[in-house]
Amino acid sequence: MSTELYNDGPVVHQATFIDGTSVEIPELRILDQDGVIYPNADLPDIDQALATKIYQSLAFHRVLDERMVASQRQGRLSFYMTALGEEATSVGGAAGLKPQDMIMMQYREQGALIYRGFDLKDLMNQLFSNAGDLGKGRQMPIHYGSKELNCMTVSSPLATQIPQATGYAYGQKLQGADAVTICYFGEGAASEGDFHAGLNMAAVQEAPVIFFCRNNGYAISTPSDEQFKGNGIASRGVGYGIKTIRIDGNDILAVLKATQIARAYAVKENKPVLIEAMSYRLGAHSTSDDPSGYRTKEEEAKWQSHDPILRMKNWLIKQNWWDEAQETALFEKYREDVLAAVKVAEKIDKPHIDTMITDVYDVPSAQLQAQLDEVKAHVNKYPEAYPFTAGKF
């Protein structure tokens, strides 16, 4: 028990304010856009097999996003969110962890699930809210989750996963598990009270959690300079007493390196880490959004030239681990796979009407059963008004 935690500066006799401008935050970059490694750069642990797996995940993510936006435009899907331009943050983060580590996503991190091997069929069933969805068709598209893959189901309220990640990691620590929790969120979500709650508690309670901020410049239409005035999100980590690093989020090797180091530190020291990955949301916020109303084509073009997938491809080719023929074949295969999976998923029935009351509690109460019975009788009376369920129970 101690109240003496301050690393005090000197006592001064003139009023001396600090504003943080004296704190320079370095940004880790290992790979340049042409795929050349900077001289003296510290490389992450990576070999050809890992590099290939990462690249395949990135490529699949890009194809999935393209196809699903097209499906939404065709009216086959209600809603979708891409991660265009910032795929390296989720894929690289997952690649820096072990399978037993918990991943808590915000909603733009399906790359982590893809890397962990979430089945294409499961992705599609979630997106089409059909009877095969692990989430039983209850949440909007992109709210994936998988117990088996240690990926916590996404929830729409922003930043709620941040203190939860602290609690989850604390439980992992108590059990002495070789496991950490990584928690993704955007720079906009970092304005929520739960950000403060989660980071402060992680520091105080000493939880092995990696806070991973995707600073992609926008919260829907609000640019980051209307979100905060401090030096990004990284500067806050210092205030909480959390080891913090800022990285180029479009550099897959920087993401991988930072996550690998963070994981090792979190497990060994049982302490949190904050990673701020600088990136840019090249796509719209969601299929319901149109960025032309709040940003310029010039700005987007600048960031298109920082494409993380192209950057990795350039590096792989220089390594002689990849070539254009493989590239074409891979993208072609993924396009066919996704299209075929869409066709299957959209034909699967909606979830059974009984699932309306399951999982509210561990066991449905008598009241819930009575309410369901009433709805069923009503559906039977007006079957044409309820085509998804009429005649199916």
Partner: protein
């Protein structure tokens, strides 16, 4: 059997829960070495270590967010919110997260191992912000259970059941009774059922229903009414959500009258929900309108607390009015 107060009963339940499962963790503001501002967690840190019973920073949304994550991970999470009046910063974590965790994930994940304890209610000269009874807010949230004990015996058995129940439970403790209510409580482990009301006293003329600290109020009013020859059936709801419609309906079908007493304000309080359901279930058996004796639709006052709150005299008057309707 030992005579102990309600606080000791809570402490005894927590002690049993921590002893039986190493993954059980108790935390909240001042919960650690100090044992909580009411001393409900007294001695637990000394016995089970700082890792399992500890102070948190002053951040209710963080306490419940942390608790949600801990419970989802598989640990038994027992979080204390120091006063129910301060539970609202955690409303999102309770209503949007804890309550929906299982449903939204299709049962991939759940926080069934979460229990939130919080002292609630008036009678301690606590004014607006140390007196509220917020049970109705949470009763409007599918996925939660809400439990309120009336005495030490009930508190221990219901708290142990809440901790072991595989759903998130909010356990509101009537703080006015923490030291005032003393009774026989077994030292050993026992549980009382959730979702079940208890008929405390049988009667034939009117059903009096309440929970928590209002129970001794309606029992006292029932005693007064019996001097007038009115036979009251006294029922403790015990679990607010999901509530025991069957027991209440059965009682009202027998007596033909229902009075509900609550500390919380009248409008949209849980008494209103009970009244709506019971008039639907027992319409042809009712001999008078269902009576609600409640706080006024104002914030909880300090100097005028006695006038504000539902007491035995107000309940007695409502009994007479109902019987003479």
């Amino acid at each position: 059997m030992a005579q102990i107060n309600l606080l000791h009963a809570i402490n005894s339940a927590l002690d049993i829960a921590m002893a039986e499962d190493k993954s059980t963790v108790c935390f909240g503001e001042d919960v650690g070495h100090f044992g909580g501002v009411f001393r409900a967690t007294s001695g637990l840190q000394e016995k089970y270590g700082k890792a399992r019973c500890f102070n948190t920073p002053l951040v209710e949304q963080g306490i419940i967010g942390f608790a949600n994550g801990l419970a989802a991970q598989g640990s038994v999470a027992i979080a204390e919110i120091q006063f129910a009046d301060y539970i609202f910063p955690a409303f999102d974590q309770i209503v949007n997260e804890a309550a929906k965790f299982r449903y939204r994930s299709g049962n991939e994940f759940n926080v069934g191992k979460l229990t939130i304890r919080s002292p609630y209610g008036g009678g301690i000269a606590g004014g607006l912000y140390h007196s509220q009874s917020p049970e109705a807010y949470f009763a409007h949230t599918p996925g939660l259970k809400v439990v309120i004990p009336r005495n030490p015996y009930q508190a221990k058995g219901l708290l142990l059941a809440s901790i072991r129940d595989d759903n998130p439970v909010i356990f509101f403790e009537p703080k006015r009774l923490y030291r005032a209510s003393v009774g026989e409580v077994p030292e050993e482990d026992y549980q009382l059922p959730l979702g079940k009301a208890e008929v405390v006293q049988t009667g034939t003329d009117i059903t009096l229903l309440a929970w928590g600290a209002q129970m001794e109020i309606i029992e006292k009013a029932a005693q007064m009414a019996s001097n007038d020859g009115i036979s009251c059936e006294v029922v403790d709801l015990r679990t607010i959500l999901p509530w025991d419609i069957e027991t209440i309906s059965k009682s009202v079908m027998k007596t033909g009258r229902l009075l509900i007493s609550q500390e919380a304000p009248l409008t949209a309080g849980f008494a209103s929900e009970i009244a709506a359901t019971i008039q639907s279930e027992c319409f042809l058996h009712l001999e008078s309108p269902i009576a609600r004796v409640c706080g006024l639709d104002t914030p909880y006052p300090l100097a005028l607390e006695k006038e504000y709150v539902s007491d035995h005299l107000k309940v007695y008057e409502a009994i007479i009015k109902s019987v003479n309707y």
